[in-house]
Symmetry: C2
Subunit: 234 residues, 2 copies
């Protein structure tokens, strides 16, 4: 449960804590420093991680970390800023997880494995996943930064598809981005259905997930996409 969360604390490393203690002719030494920032982030992640963003109260958060709400405002601007920072961390962990799928000489298999890793991360970290993809309250990172982050997360998938095309495993009639997007969409869709409680009853999505991915990959094989034209049956 708290496994992933602790990694948030470790990621940025608490090294240069006393970096800009004073910038001009100043007064009190800062206690709203990088170390406190990480403690807040850590604690907020834990709460969001198992009760969602709505359950995160700045007052409670500040009390837990034994500071005041002012700290959140001086370090993150406001609640949205705090969640935005969490968003960044969630992206970071997500990218890291997907990067553990190393390319092999079977690109189509890599695509499947990336899809499985996608699901594994989401199921293991449902609230961080929610921050990434569903929570409307996270405005995050000035709108224009987001696409770049998004493309970063699914770059490995595009690469795998490209290699698959060169290896003849995928049709070259469509751009690799298009094929990758379809895989991304299916993974995201099936995962989202489960996490939002909308998975159909009496049907374990987990069992169908890989088969669905394989069917999609099969459908993008050379020459297949033309054959699926409308007038086909009887």
């Amino acid at each position: 449960m708290a496994r992933q969360v602790t990694s948030i604390c470790c990621d940025a490393g608490g090294a240069f804590v006393t970096a800009f203690e004073y910038d001009d002719a100043m007064a009190k030494p800062k206690t709203h420093d990088e170390a406190l920032r990480l403690r807040l982030l850590h604690r907020a992640a834990a709460t969001v991680f198992d009760r969602g963003t709505a359950a995160l109260s700045l007052r409670q958060l500040a009390a837990d970390v034994k500071t005041s709400t002012t700290a959140v405002y001086s370090l993150f601007g406001n609640k949205a800023g705090l969640l935005s920072s969490l968003y960044q961390e969630a992206v970071h962990l997500f990218v890291e997880r997907l990067a553990t799928v190393h390319p092999t000489d079977d690109p189509a298999g890599d695509v499947i494995r990336i899809g499985l890793a996608y699901r594994e991360y989401a199921v293991a970290n449902p609230h961080l996943y929610a921050i990434l993809f569903s929570d409307r309250s996270v405005q995050c990172s000035s709108e224009s930064d987001r696409p770049r982050e998004v493309v970063e997360t699914y770059r490995p998938l595009i690469d795998a598809v490209s290699r698959g095309q060169r290896a003849g495993q995928f049709s070259s009639e469509s751009a690799p981005e298009v094929i990758a997007l379809s895989v991304w969409g299916m993974a995201h869709g099936l995962v989202s259905l489960v996490l939002s409680g909308n998975e159909p009853p009496e049907l374990a999505v987990a069992d169908c997930y890989e088969r669905a991915l394989r069917a999609l990959v099969a459908g993008w094989r050379e020459g297949e996409e033309r054959a699926s034209g409308v007038a086909d049956a009887m």
Copy 2:
């Protein structure tokens, strides 16, 4: 914009308004009646429809309809109950929309058309769609009712797949529910990516959507799903 919303007001029909005005030896005549219930639902739908559930304030809602917040509590229990009723309506509209895709003698084509209708509803009614599938704040309908509603929404898809299997357009090795789920997942995933602002830059999902669906359908053709085994390329 307000087109779909007004239909919410008309759906239940304000017929038996004076049904149970008095049940025992009572006092004041009720003003928190079915008509008021519909007015509240209508107004709430309008707000949620274009500003989301978070922007819905019960005080403001009551003021708009010229009643008090007590009305919401006596008619819906609480805010969650109100949103739950909205959820029911959103499901209803969604099912209605998907039902407009009539079966033809090309079941595979029907599957594609259902997928397109899915997307069309979501894009036209983003906030109702959000209530259905993403908004965590909607606990809705006692948990146990939901699966039945869900299955209702994607029953037409299962039927189309079943017919496709009999027509030889889909492999019969997988249950129709599995194939339908994959289509449902892809549609939901691609739509969700767009609505949550996570669509990849420089790539119009709208343009890829139908192609992705067609690839998936192609991948479920007879004998295809076995061929996508791991060791395939060089």
